[in-house]
């Protein structure tokens, strides 16, 4: 198992403002797998991801990455194992740093050599030619920025990649290009992906297994075939699936709330 999560809890704030965002979830991800986490806003899916990659240190429970306990604060070795691709390619790149600088920084921090060659290779791998290397983020389109975001995550050749809604800010035709890129990279390099999204179609396209989250708990864990054949067991998942398949006036009447 590349990733094992046991009884993860995340609590923010105190007293009146106390929010129990993640309420004891456990799952494990095998090497080379693409694992999906689905949920609506407020379900805690992004909080789980941020805890796993060291961006939130306020968690209780046990996180094992590659057999070792994950540190509270990411250290150098951790960063070489785990990387994340963020949701918003407009907000996650430094506006005053060139693509080259953005890709070079992790190499400098880690003291890795052959930097020019590595940057050129990674840009090629994500489908950007060398003319993009000295551009600033505002000179790139949304899809190109997300390719840079992926290239940045690849620089340290991690084993485990966390993808937080990697295409939700993109047009459908650009989304298709980015999803194809992610599928190809996994095939070529044997990555393990943990993909967080609200879009069941992307899960069905990318993943082998998934968990469905609602208000901080796992509602259901299932293989992706259950999704494709429309046979989820829990009513929450069934409702989510129904709503994802398109507008149906009569079905809206039957909606329940799940807390």
């Amino acid at each position: 198992m590349v990733l094992e999560v046991r009884n993860l809890h995340v609590v923010f704030g105190h007293g009146h403002n106390r929010v129990h965002a993640v309420r004891g979830i456990s799952f494990s991800v095998a090497k080379g797998e693409c694992f999906g986490i689905v949920g609506e806003s407020g379900s805690g899916k992004t909080t789980v991801l941020r805890s796993l990659c060291g961006l939130n240190s306020h968690w209780q429970g046990e996180i094992l990455i590659d057999g070792r306990l994950a540190p509270r604060r990411p250290d150098r070795a951790f960063c070489r194992t785990v990387q994340i691709v963020f949701q918003d390619p407009y907000g996650s790149l430094h506006p005053r740093q060139t693509v080259d600088r953005c890709l070079r920084e992790p190499l400098e921090v880690q003291g890795i050599g052959q930097r020019d060659q590595r940057i050129a290779d990674t840009l090629n791998a994500v489908g950007l030619n060398q003319s993009f290397r000295y551009r600033y983020p505002h000179q790139l389109s949304g899809g190109q920025r997300q390719r840079v975001g992926i290239a940045r995550a690849l620089m340290l050749e991690p084993k485990l990649l966390f993808l937080d809604e990697p295409t939700s800010a993109l047009d459908v035709s650009v989304q298709a290009e980015i999803l194809n890129l992610l599928v190809r990279l996994r095939k070529e390099r044997g990555f393990t992906y943990v993909l967080v999204t609200h879009d069941l179609a992307i899960i069905s396209h990318m993943c082998e297994r998934l968990i469905v989250m609602n208000v901080g708990r796992i509602v259901e864990a299932m293989p992706v075939t259950a999704l494709r054949e429309r046979t989820p067991e829990h009513p929450y998942t069934q409702q989510l699936l129904q709503a994802s398949l398109g507008y149906d006036r009569k079905a809206v009447e039957r909606y329940q709330t799940f807390d």
Partner: protein, 283 residues
């Protein structure tokens, strides 16, 4: 819903052009369509001109944008000929527009109820006391469970779905004939999205309104609307009945459909769109 005899809106050769220091941009190029009391979806990617189209109908294109049209006829009147003060009586009363994100498009320092009341006092000549009752009624109509709380709430105290219901209430309270919804549900969770759509659907059907539904989501438009116009580069490249969405023939429309991942029939590799410059030369 079938085609009515007299169309509500008839647009002929509507163009919007921006002349900028770096060149001329044609945001809309000779767009023509008709709309009856039906739900018409306008689909396209970012930059296709779909939002510009909605704004041009309401004459909300800012300078230096130049709007030209042979005709923008709404209920027998040509909107391009009437004065700005007449336009202000139509805008918000007879034609209204729901915007994408309630957090940014509602007034942050006015309670939800007061904002809806403002519409009534400007367009309906309604006094405060009777107005309050009508606002509470319309909040109930958009299925807000506790209208009194929402009346006195500010936008930041409401969830996204609630905020979008408030905006919908504001846009239908004056009984408009035509509702333009610009990505009204893109920021919402799927189940909330379906609930807000059901509210819009019911209001449009019960009151016999026309709806222009602007969206980038092909599947959603296909299941929600009666008719679909597909836009690319400021042009309408194809139009079809919603039921015939899967039969579209233009390479751009086909490309959009095929690039969508599917829940039930996943493909190994998604088709990507090859843009042909010839699409911009047509029509």
């Amino acid at each position: 819903m079938g085609q009515p005899d007299q169309p509500l809106l008839r647009v002929e050769n509507l163009s919007v052009r921006y002349v900028t220091p770096t060149g001329v941009v044609d945001a809309l190029k000779k767009v023509s369509f008709e709309l009856g009391r039906e739900k018409v979806g306008i689909v396209g990617e970012s930059g296709s001109g779909k939002s510009t189209l909605g704004r041009a109908i309401l004459r909300l294109i800012p300078r230096p944008g130049q709007v030209t049209a042979d005709r923008i006829e709404f209920m027998g009147r040509d909107l391009k000929d009437i004065s700005e003060s007449e336009m202000r009586r139509i805008r918000g009363k007879q034609i209204t527009m729901i915007l994408q994100d309630p957090k940014f498009s509602l007034n942050p320092v006015m309670t939800a109820g007061d904002q809806i009341l403002e519409v009534l006092s400007i367009h309906g000549g309604v006094r405060r006391r009777e107005g309050r009752k009508r606002v509470l009624d319309i909040l109930k109509a958009v299925r807000i469970r506790d209208p009194n709380r929402v009346y006195n709430a500010y936008v930041h105290e409401l969830s996204g779905g609630m905020g979008q219901r408030v905006m919908t209430a504001m846009m239908v309270v004056a009984n408009p004939m035509l509702l333009i919804a610009d990505e009204p549900t893109s920021a919402l969770d799927v189940t909330v999205r379906m609930q807000v759509l059901a509210i819009i659907d019911d209001l449009v059907t019960q009151r016999g309104m026309g709806l222009i539904f602007i969206s980038h989501d092909l599947n959603l438009v296909g299941s929600f609307c009666d008719r679909i116009l597909i836009m690319y580069g400021g042009r309408i490249v194809e139009s079809c009945g919603a039921a015939d969405l899967h039969k579209v023939s233009h390479p751009y429309s086909r490309g959009l459909l095929e690039s969508l991942p599917s829940i039930e029939k996943p493909k190994e590799v998604l088709a990507t769109l090859k843009r042909d410059p010839a699409w911009l030369a047509e029509a």
